[in-house]
Amino acid sequence: MSDNDNVITVTGEWRKPPINVDIDNRPFYDGLKAHKLLLWHCNQCGAWYWPKSYCQNHENEPFAANMEWTEASGKGKVFAFNRHHWAFHPGFKDDVPYVYALIELDEGPLISTTLVGETPDDVHDIGQEVEIVYEDHPDQGFTLPRFRMTGN
């Protein structure tokens, strides 16, 4: 699978709620723009987290300096999902029905997002394998992580 298969480009006006970038998660969003999924990784014991946190397995250095953003596989499984039939925000009127899923990444952390590339009815069970798709928004200068199904 070429890199291009994992990238979607969306241009035009952004009518949905804004993304929430702050000083703690900026590297995560910068990683997405570079088409890398970064998770918060403990250099001491190898544990993975998202979002940023102190490592739960041992004492930490001040401000969790024993940890850093590290590229992850971008692969995971559907842990739970639902189908939104109502657009609670007018920016989602053309999106419904859409599947909003909780993804259990292969490294362990959970992340939630929408699934793309399939119709909602194709998502039918927890445990389905997924991988990340980078949705570039060049006009706004950010990239969102979405996932698509790859296996059973």
Partner: protein, 400 residues
């Protein structure tokens, strides 16, 4: 079982309720009026109130009372403290625990606790701008809004989906919860859904909002205010109405053990809260005459029935389908209709109902010989991205 020394040492002696849509009044006046009613109900005057706590639904999906005024100012309370307590729908339980520390030290003789919302009125405005639900409660700092995680139901529904996938629970079984609570609401003229009976078929035919949830799996948005007065048992002896004693309280957070580590999406943080509250009171769940279980969605009721031990984990769907939580059932739940069918003022909905049940003031929905009631609350970020959500349990008893 031995009681904790604090059990029964504090009591609720006054209650004020403003229910139903309030389109012609600002929340400020609803809040002050609910507090005034509670003070009068307690046989007191504003001069008796030593402190005021504002129960606001902060820290969850948003601040549901984001105006800057204080009901103590509006009402002219000459008290020593006024501040805000709350985490999502967990309000009254946290407020009681907080107020007790002021009563215990004699900083106040009587504390007024009040929560008011104008969610229904605000949601009517949101509709005109193309939103559905409580867009006024939107809060920055969350993961997922840009992607479509827009309301509590956007992520709470995962829990129902997990319970269905893991235990085979069905939508009809969840509907049974909604139907039984509606039966209670039809006995309560104060309930929004009074006079509107509902069947499982009605539940199944209601629109799919966020699958697996139908519209009738989801709580309402409401206007209103509820206030109550807390004091010491000693002072409560002089109150005009039957005092309602605080027998025990417990708290739990789902953050680490249940979610982060084990990814259990089919539990509430009941275990520590149950142990603390029932331990303090020296009681077990067989002593509970009715339970006001926080019901933001139908599944949360089922999780709590399992987690408290009325049935085994995973068997909640089959359990509720037998009809145990409605009128005449073995464990009456949300006896005024709950958030699903009465109105949604966080856990104050259940707290007000508990107080009425223990005073014998619940009218057609009164439980006979009601001596001990539990009220639970729930609130906070579910997974956006903070995996934290509080569970509170308050046990109240009739008399001192």
């Amino acid at each position: 079982m031995a009681k904790h020394p604090s059990s029964g040492k504090y009591a609720i002696i006054g209650l004020g309720v403003i229910a139903g849509p309030q389109p012609d009044r600002h929340q400020r006046m609803v809040a002050a009026e609910a507090a005034r009613l509670a003070i009068v109900d307690a046989g007191l005057t504003p001069a008796d109130i030593g402190g005021a706590i504002d129960l606001r639904r902060t820290g969850g999906g948003g601040d549901r009372a984001n105006y800057t005024d204080a009901y103590s100012r509006v009402l002219g309370l000459k008290n020593n403290f006024y501040f805000v307590v709350g985490r999502g729908g967990a309000l009254a339980g946290l407020g009681i625990a907080t107020a007790i520390s002021f009563l215990d030290r004699g900083i106040a003789d009587y504390v007024c606790l009040m929560g008011a919302v104008a969610d229904w009125t605000h949601s009517q405005e949101s509709k005109k701008q193309g939103h559905r639900g409580m867009s006024h409660a939107d809060k920055e700092g969350y993961w997922g809004k840009a992607l479509g995680d827009l309301r509590a139901v956007s992520h709470h529904s995962w829990m129902a989906a997990r319970h269905m996938a893991v235990y085979g629970t069905t939508s009809e079984q969840l509907g049974a919860i909604s139907v039984q609570q509606r039966e209670w609401a039809c006995k309560n003229p104060e309930a929004k859904m009074y006079g509107r009976p509902m069947t499982i078929e009605d539940h199944q035919n209601s629109p799919l909002v966020v699958e697996p949830y139908h519209l009738f799996d989801i709580c309402q948005v409401s206007d209103g205010g509820i206030a109550f007065i807390l004091t010491t048992a000693e002072r409560a002896k002089d109150a005009p109405k039957t005092p309602v004693a605080v027998l025990g309280q417990g708290f739990g957070e789902v953050s680490a053990e249940l979610w982060w580590e084990n990814k259990h999406f089919t539990h509430m943080a009941v275990a520590p809260a149950k142990e603390q509250a029932f331990g303090q009171a020296g009681l077990g769940i067989s002593d509970i005459d009715c339970a006001q279980l926080y019901d933001c969605f139908t599944s949360e009721v089922m999780f709590q029935l399992e987690d408290y031990g009325w049935c085994e984990k995973g068997e909640g769907g089959a359990f509720v389908a037998e009809g145990p939580i409605g009128p005449g059932g073995s464990i009456p739940v949300n006896t005024g209709g709950g958030l699903l069918s009465c109105y949604h003022l966080g856990d104050l909905t259940g707290m007000a109902e508990s107080i009425r049940q223990l005073r014998g003031e619940a009218g057609d929905h009164q439980i006979e010989d009601c001596e001990v009631v539990m009220t639970t609350g729930h609130g906070g970020e579910l997974l956006s991205p903070g995996m934290c959500s509080i569970h509170t349990c308050t046990l109240l008893g009739r008399g001192l």
